[in-house]
């Protein structure tokens, strides 16, 4: 059991190495994509800066709270798609175009292996941004810092789960890449606004179909309250999203393996 865990970690490390090497082949483009992400994310920080200068409190949330929200969300996003780039926009088209065959030929469990197969270069910019904003802007103490690091990985788990779920739509709906991207983008959009803005049915939606609640609200609550219970709830939520994605994928894979997807060559 332990041996296979070590084995998979070694495999993950090998993929990380080869992904970074592939990105460093085009160093200028790689760094400029990271810089572009910084600017992109930074624009929103500027917005909230201006906003909170004028309206210091929003339903109990201050600038630091929103900064933390952004930091943990972008950090989790960056870690998720930097390590498992195939959980991003590549998954839906890959399934639709039969690329799973190549992965099925390897002596590995399909999903984790497939997810490791690529890395989104700009994601590293998001990860760096999240950490820079949190440690540079919010300047936490040791406890908060540790909590943040843990939570950034919790959020990453949610993002991977979300990516798997949206990508797996291709098993059921043909080439679902646009729908998949939209679903993901909408979830991320909602996740970057203070949850105190939403109530009632919308809030319920944000903990189900649009999992923004698991992406940022639960994690940021843990960060604000520093309570272990909240952290455990956030972790449970993250694992729930991941589990849902895994089930959707493997159920769809069964359909793929029985050949009842539309496109078969030859």
């Amino acid at each position: 059991m332990l041996k296979s865990l070590v084995d998979y970690l070694q495999l993950g490390a090998a993929y990380l190495r080869i992904n970074i090497n592939a990105q460093l082949e085009y160093r200028a483009a790689f760094y400029s994509q990271i810089a572009a992400m910084f600017i992109n994310d930074g624009a929103w920080v500027v917005f909230w800066l201006f906003f909170f200068t004028r309206f210091p409190v929003l339903h109990g949330w201050s600038l630091k709270d929103v900064m933390s929200l952004w930091a943990v969300t972008t950090a989790g996003y960056g870690i998720a798609y930097g390590l498992m780039g195939n959980a991003h926009r590549r998954l839906a088209p890959a399934i639709a175009q039969g690329e799973l065959d190549l992965w099925l030929l390897h002596p590995r469990a399909v999903l984790p292996h497939l997810l490791l197969g690529s890395s989104i270069p700009s994601a590293w910019g998001d990860a760096a941004f999240g950490y820079v904003v949190y440690f540079g802007f919010v300047t936490p103490d040791a406890r908060h810092a540790l909590m943040f690091v843990v939570l950034s990985f919790v959020v990453a788990v949610v993002f991977v789960g979300l990516g798997i779920t949206t990508g797996s739509l291709s098993f059921y709906l043909g080439n679902a890449s646009t729908l998949s991207d939209q679903w993901r983008d909408i979830s991320i959009t909602f996740a970057t606004y203070p949850p105190t803005l939403f109530e009632g049915k919308v809030k319920l939606l944000l903990f189900t179909a649009i999992p923004a609640g698991f992406i940022s609200y639960l994690p940021v609550e843990s960060l604000r309250s520093m309570s272990i219970t909240d952290l455990l709830v956030a972790i449970a939520g993250a694992l729930g999203v991941l589990a849902f994605g895994i089930v959707m994928f493997y159920y769809g894979l069964r359909r793929y393996e029985s050949g009842n997807l539309i496109s078969m060559n030859g």
Binding site: I18, A22, P107, G259, N260
Partner: protein
Amino acid sequence: MNRGVEIRELRKNFALTRWTGFSRSVFKVVAVNGISMDVPEGQAVAFIGPNGAGKSTTIKMLTGILHPTSGNVSVLGFTPWRDRRKLAHSIGAVFGQRSQLWYHLPPGDTFELLSRIYSLERSEFIRTRDVLIERFNLGSFMATPVRKLSLGQRMRAEVAASLLHRPRVLFLDEPTIGLDVIARQELRSLICEWNRNDGTTIFLTSHDAGDIEHVAQRVVVINHGQVVVDDNVVAVRRKYLGAKILRVQFHELPRTMLLAGVTMLRESAFEWTLKVDTAVTPVRVVTAAVLDAGSVADIAVEDPPLEEVIARIYSESRKEVPT
């Protein structure tokens, strides 16, 4: 012990959904309609057939990618779709159209990754890798990014990569597509060598007759989801075209020669290319007649090109009604 590939009554039906407007119709497509065959370890089989014949579907079931509708398959003692991961350690695959090599990196980097994917023991991996580099002549470009390699170099690296974990069965799908003559010959002889020397079972899918002639010992023709022909290469060539090609060169202008069962394929002043229907007239009779027709400088008797044979098999099997 022969634990190669055993296939019994393999069948695969697809249920394809077609949407016209808002109504849905389901079509049943029979892709594989009862294939049975045994491939002993170490054999090189060419799997040929027109597009849509069921080749790829069969290969997918042999590699565990697809689950059959019914039938049994045993590859090296494993049931592919049940023991996919265990079997994957012992099989390899090369697709002419899809690459395993990371495009922007040198082949060496992909080799390293593959060693991790297959959990290969370090020293064992290095030994195999070095042997492959030497035999496939990859040394000069192991550090060059794949995108800068010629197609021939890339395919050699691709095949070598598929052999890193020393698979017992290798599936090759159109490996020589797009290659120039020399690169094609190089690749064929490498595959052949690996088959003859290392005993790796080869499953080759190709539309190139040369691939089949040089690499395979056995030819299986699939059409309409069934095995139409299953024989060794030489027999297939001989049986399915009861014809021989005669090339003759004369010292002087030859006299006209008329024989039943002989067609003039090409005629120039001092050269004849004849096609002989051996069912009508045996070759020795034609040869004697040719020698009589004039002073012969050179004469050669050849089997017809495999392309013709294959084309004929396809068209013949189309006339047959599948049972």
